[in-house]
Structure formats: C-alpha cells, structure tokens
C-alpha cells in the first residue's frame, strides 16, 4: 500500500464565510478546565451547518460563544469574526454592550430548546413581537406585517396566535412562534440550540421542513445544534461533530454519513437507532465521554477508541484532510474505514472508495 502524504490543517475553511470562529476556548477555574477547547470553524454564507455532540460535549457552549454570551464566570478567548453582507468585518468579542445588543437579534438571532422559558408567561404573543420591535427602534407596523407573514410561513394562524398567551399554545406552536419572533428583525444568521428537542418526532420533522423553506425565502444562514445526528442529517448542508469540548470532524453531510473518517463519528453512527440498519449490528459506544476536570492527554477519545496508539495518548491531532473540505481530527482516519464498518450502509458501499480519498 502506498502511503500518500497526509495533509494537515488547523481548520477547514469555506469560500464565503459569514462567521469565522478561530481558536475559541471557554475556561472555568482560572484556566484549569476547558468547556470549549480551541474550536475553529467557518459558517458559510447561506448554508445550514449542523453541529452534533452528546450532552457535555461543549456544543451549547459553542452557541453561547458565538454571541459572546458565555455564562459567568466562564472566560471566552479566541476570535469570532462576523462578515455582514456589506461593510467591514467585526470581531464579536470586541464589541461593547450596546453594539452587542444590536448584533444579537438584528444580525444573529438565537432559538433555544423549550419555548416556554423564552416567553414571558404573562404577556400575549403580540406583546412579545411589539416589544422586540420597539426595543430595536423598528417601525412596529411594518414589523407586525412581517410577523404575520412569518407566522403564516410556519403554518400558524397569525391573528389567533398573536392574541394568545404562551400557555394557550401547544409545544409545537410555541416553538414555531418563537422561530417567527427570532426572525422578525430580519437577521442574517439563525443559531438554534436543540430547538426541537422537547417535541415529538412528527413535529420535529415538520419544523425542519419549514426551516428549510424559511432559509430559502429569507436567504438565511443557519447553525443547528443537536445531539440527534440523523435528525439534522435531513436538513444540514454540512455537519460538524464535537467530542469532549473539541471539534473532531467536519464535512458535507453526505460525506459524514457515508464516509465518516473519525472513529467516534463512525461509532456514533452505529449507535443510533434508525429504521434501516440491521438490528443485530447496532451497538452502543463503550465507555463514557470525559468530564472537563478529567480530560485525557492527547486525543480525548483515545480511552474509548479501538484504534488508539501511543501517539494518540500524547498528541492532540490536527485536522487531516480526508477529501476536499472533509476534515477529521484523527491520526488513524484511514484505518477507521476498515476497522469500524458503518452498519447503515450496504456491504458494497462500506469500503473506502478508490482514489476518492487523499
């Protein structure tokens, strides 16, 4: 077997980034424990990027970092550059309080899990929209016209929803109304942290379809954070996989699903219940992911990894370019194809495609 030269990089860049995250870290305890560890990531203008990780992988911390909203006493370092459609780029971490407040909602908007905790239970939905518009000095009448249209886009009856209080709506309606509210100031970017996790699957899937429509209609860029890899696979153009507070793999969705090149991603794909894979072959990932105060040296996945070698125990891997814009932070990504078969693929598709990979 010929060993081709392995290309390394610290991050996988895209052509027209709207947000560039560079070496973003969040520490507590005066720098001794990291809850986000050197994440570099581009969000391309107009794309939907799915960020996938288990509980405690740092994925929500990444969302907070994007808007410089890391909870105290966390310390955020690195740069997060926002490139608006026109005008100069800004480093979000350098903005003063007033500029940051304007940026949130007007440029980058966020939707969290559990709409009930985002709404004020004593205020009608109409008041939520009006107050949001007023707080950002927007024309309320024009804004409410947009609100009507957004609610209709989300298959809600605008007049009925606007005159309701949050508790009068079902969970699925609340979450859709919250998405409409997050878009009423016409932001460029929508960041969503488990926006559908508390809902049943049918509502989750319906909302995903609607998000896809909204993205086209309003030229949005979306970052969708979830623990549910198959869910976001249906929506995302690219996927980024997080493990133990680090980004460990990124690539086009089709690449990740069919040619994942990190042992963790491959194990994650095999551990996910779905309707296609043979039941006998699905298996859980052995062991547990590490806590921030107990991070292993080297690659954080090495204690659970069947391919771990001495190098993995001492050295944190860079991204190895697997193909095009597909990167994997693993020294042994090639071996992972043979050692960890993807059970959801048919036998003929499981091999590494000839000449396709570097």
């Amino acid at each position: 077997m010929t060993q081709s030269h392995d290309q390394h990089t610290e991050h996988i860049a895209v052509d027209d980034p709207i947000i560039e995250v560079r070496d973003a870290s969040v520490t507590y305890d005066e720098g001794t424990s990291y809850v986000l560890d050197g994440v570099s990531l581009d969000l391309g203008r107009g794309e939907i990027l799915g960020v996938v990780g288990e509980s405690g992988s740092g994925k929500s911390m990444l969302a907070s970092a994007l808007l410089d909203a890391v909870p105290d006493p966390g310390l955020l370092s690195g740069t997060i550059e926002y490139h608006p459609d026109s005008g100069a780029a800004t480093d979000i971490l350098e903005l003063d309080t007033e500029d940051l407040r304007a940026l949130r909602w007007e440029e980058i908007s966020m939707v969290f899990q559990g709409a009930m905790s985002s709404f004020n239970p004593t205020m009608s939905l109409r008041k939520h929209f009006v107050e949001t518009l007023e707080a950002h000095d927007e024309d309320v009448e024009a804004g409410m016209d947009r609100a009507h249209e957004l609610l209709e886009d989300l298959y809600l009856e605008p007049d009925r929803v606007l005159s309701s209080y949050p508790h009068e709506l079902s969970g699925g309606m609340q979450q859709r109304a919250l998405i409409a509210l997050s878009l009423v100031l016409e932001p460029e970017v929508l960041v969503m942290d488990e926006p559908t996790a508390a809902l049943d699957l049918l509502m989750q899937r319906s909302i995903l379809l609607l998000l896809d429509d909204l993205k086209e209609k309003y030229d949005l860029t979306m970052l969708f954070i979830t623990h549910d890899l198959p869910l976001v696979a249906a929506l995302a153009d690219r996927m980024a996989i997080m493990y133990a507070f680090r980004l460990i793999e990124i690539g086009q969705t089709e690449e990740i699903i069919n040619h994942a090149a990190h042992p963790y991603t491959r194990a994650l794909l095999n551990s996910t219940p779905n309707l296609d894979a043979p039941l006998e072959e699905m298996r859980p990932i052995e062991g547990q992911s590490p806590a921030p105060i107990n991070m292993p040296d080297g690659c954080a996945y090495h204690p659970r990894c069947p391919l771990a070698e001495d190098q993995c125990r001492t050295e944190v891997p860079d991204f190895h370019i697997v193909a095009g814009d597909h990167g994997s932070a693993c020294f042994n990504w090639r071996e992972s194809y043979d050692e960890i078969e993807l059970v959801h693929l048919d036998d003929g598709e499981r091999a590494i495609p000839e000449g396709d990979r570097q």
């Binding site: 509502m203 890899l229 959801h344």
Partner: protein, 349 residues
C-alpha cells in the same frame, strides 16, 4: 396461547375538564383514550407510539392500574383489577399483589428518586416489601449484584451515593433496578429513554431487554420515536401499537408495522423518523401540521383532517379495526368494497 398478563377491552378514559368561571356550561370532556383493546402477554414487549397528546401515556397508566378507565375493563390474569381494588371480586388476589406486579419508570427519573436517601436505602425499600424476611446483608448483596448488572461499578461506591450524584443515564438505571426488585410482571417504561442522548439509548434498551429475560417480565414501552420502538419491540419479538387521538390506528408485529405500514398515519410517522439514507423524504405527507384538540375530535375517522388519503366517506364513520395478516388496521382502505373507494377525495380549500 397462555392467558395474557394484562388484557384491556374496549377501554375509554375520559377526563372532565371543569372550566373555572364558566358555570352553566357542561364541562369539556377530553377523550384521552377512546375504545382501545390490547393484550400484554408474558415476556411481551409492547410499544405504544404516537404524537404528544395521542393518549399513549394515559393508555399505559390504565394498563398498569394507575388510571381508572371510565368505560371498559382492565384484567390482570383474567381478573378485573378495579373490581379487586374495590373488593367486589371473589378472586384469590389482593390489590396490593397486583400493584406490586405492575411497575413504572418515568421519563424523568430524577423526580422519582428521593433526593435525601442513598441508593442503598432507595433500593432496599422494594426488597423489604417483597421479601420482608431478607437479612440486611442479603439485601445488600442483591442490590450490589443488580447494580453491577446494570453497569454501575463499583456497586458499593454507587450504593453510597445520593441521586444528585448520578448522571441522567445512571438515575434511569436505578429507577429500572428499583422496579425490577419488586419482581414485577409488567414494567411501564414511559418515554424512559427519551431524555437520554441518542447515543445512550441503544445501551439502555439492550440492558432492559437483557434484564427482561433474567427477571421474566414484560414491558409496555411508550415512545414518540418509531426507531426506538422498532429496536425495543423487534428485539423482544413484540408488537408496536400506533395511537392517534385516543385510538389505535394500527397494531402488529414490530417489523411488519415498520416495513409494511398499512395505516396512512403509520406512514406519516415513518416519514417523520430520521434515518441515514439521505434520500429526499419529499413533501410532508400530511395536510395539517397540528394535531386536533382531543376535546373536540374530528367526526368520522379522527385522522381525516390531516390524512393525505382521506375521502368524503372518512368524515362520516369511524373505521373499526380490520385484520391484515397479523396486523390490525383502523382504515377503510383495508376493505376493497367500502364506499370509500367511490367517494370524492377531501381537499382543504
């Protein structure tokens, strides 16, 4: 075939929703469960799936005697459990025995474990009830071996912890241990794995299935996720029941319901279940996103307001279950001679 452990016959659970400050009007009636018949066999794994508000939790609770049906009967090994509970039965069974045999684990195990007691004490309680004669050291060794069995090593260390010192997955295992120590015939697992990360669900389901064989118990598994229901019921050779607005739309052996869904609503749930095939799933196969209000369910077939295949005939009568091989399907399309086929399609405008 031997007698079912639990047998539900034409069960209805209607809740009266008294509106405050609205005297004079009749109270609203929520038809949470409306005419369901289903059996739970020995060592069965019955999954109930459906949207939020479809009545699956109410049906599950009714099956284990936590909710009294307003109509129909719930039988435990042939004896009506509500007659026994009220002392109107001459059966040789006490309510307390039945209560012990039917256990539940919830979606949020944290709220079901006493925060002020250590695991050893939490898990000693069921043993004390079932085996009052066990010595302290026998109890301890049973608890330790069960904790080890569910992967909580070292058991002595875990037994000494309080619930808040456990992860979500560990709490769920403790809840499972506590249910198993009662030596139950049936455990109702109500969205018991839904709060866990996707990657931990297979592990938890494997453990439940392993322990099922060992403890000789049945599961009623409630989930909104068809792929979890498939994994759990297929491994346990059980059935999947699909519920819609208080009624069973379809029920049958797990792999058949997944691979050959007969009811249009089962197809909708299948469409909604994420997979890794990356095929374009296309348009939403439903005419409306939101489930109708169970206070005022649609006339005729309850799914007709959203069903992509609904015709005029579906608005008039509510289909009863048709046999389709081993499946039971509540849809007129099962009957080749039904007036459905000659009636006009429903459109929304």
């Amino acid at each position: 075939m031997s007698e079912p452990v639990i047998s539900l016959e034409n069960v209805e659970v209607h809740f009266e929703n008294e509106r405050l400050l609205d005297f004079g009007n009749d109270p609203e009636t929520v038809r949470a469960v409306d005419g369901v018949s289903v059996d739970v066999e020995e060592n069965d794994v019955l999954s109930l799936v459906g949207e939020s508000g479809c009545g699956k939790t109410t049906l599950g609770k009714t099956a284990i005697g936590l909710q009294r049906p307003t109509h129909g009967s719930v039988k435990y090994r042939g004896h009506d459990i509500w007659e026994i509970r009220e002392g109107n039965s001459d059966a040789d069974l006490e309510w307390s025995d039945i209560r012990t045999s039917l256990q539940i684990i919830h979606q949020d195990p944290g709220s079901a474990l006493n925060p002020n007691r250590r695991l050893l004490s939490i898990l000693s309680e069921p043993l004390r009830q079932v085996n009052p004669d066990l010595s302290k050291s026998e109890k301890r060794s049973r608890i330790y071996s069960l904790l080890e069995r569910v992967g909580m090593n070292p058991a002595a260390d875990f037994a000494d912890r309080y619930p808040h010192q456990l992860s979500g997955g560990e709490k769920q295992r403790v809840a499972l241990c506590r249910a198993l120590l009662m030596n139950p015939d049936v455990i109702l697992a109500d969205e018991a794995i839904s709060a866990l990360d996707v990657s931990l669900r297979v592990e938890m389901m494997d453990m439940m299935l392993d322990l099922q064989a060992e403890f000789d118990t049945s599961f009623v598994f409630i989930s909104h996720d068809l792929s979890n229901a498939r994994y759990f019921s297929s491994h346990g050779n059980g059935k999947i029941g699909v519920m819609y607005l208080g009624q069973l739309a379809e029920i049958g052996p797990a792999e058949q319901v997944i691979n050959e869904p007969q009811h249009p609503y089962t197809e909708v749930l299948r469409w909604a279940t994420p997979d890794l095939s990356l095929d374009d799933h296309g348009e939403m196969p439903m005419r409306k996103i939101d489930i109708p209000d169970p206070i005022n369910p649609p006339s005729g077939c309850r799914f007709h307001t959203r069903c992509p295949k609904a015709r005029e005939a579906c608005t008039r009568a509510n289909p009863t279950a048709y046999e389709h091989g081993e499946q039971r399907v509540a849809c007129f399309r099962e009957d080749d001679t039904h007036e459905y086929w000659d009636s006009p399609e429903l459109t929304d405008d």
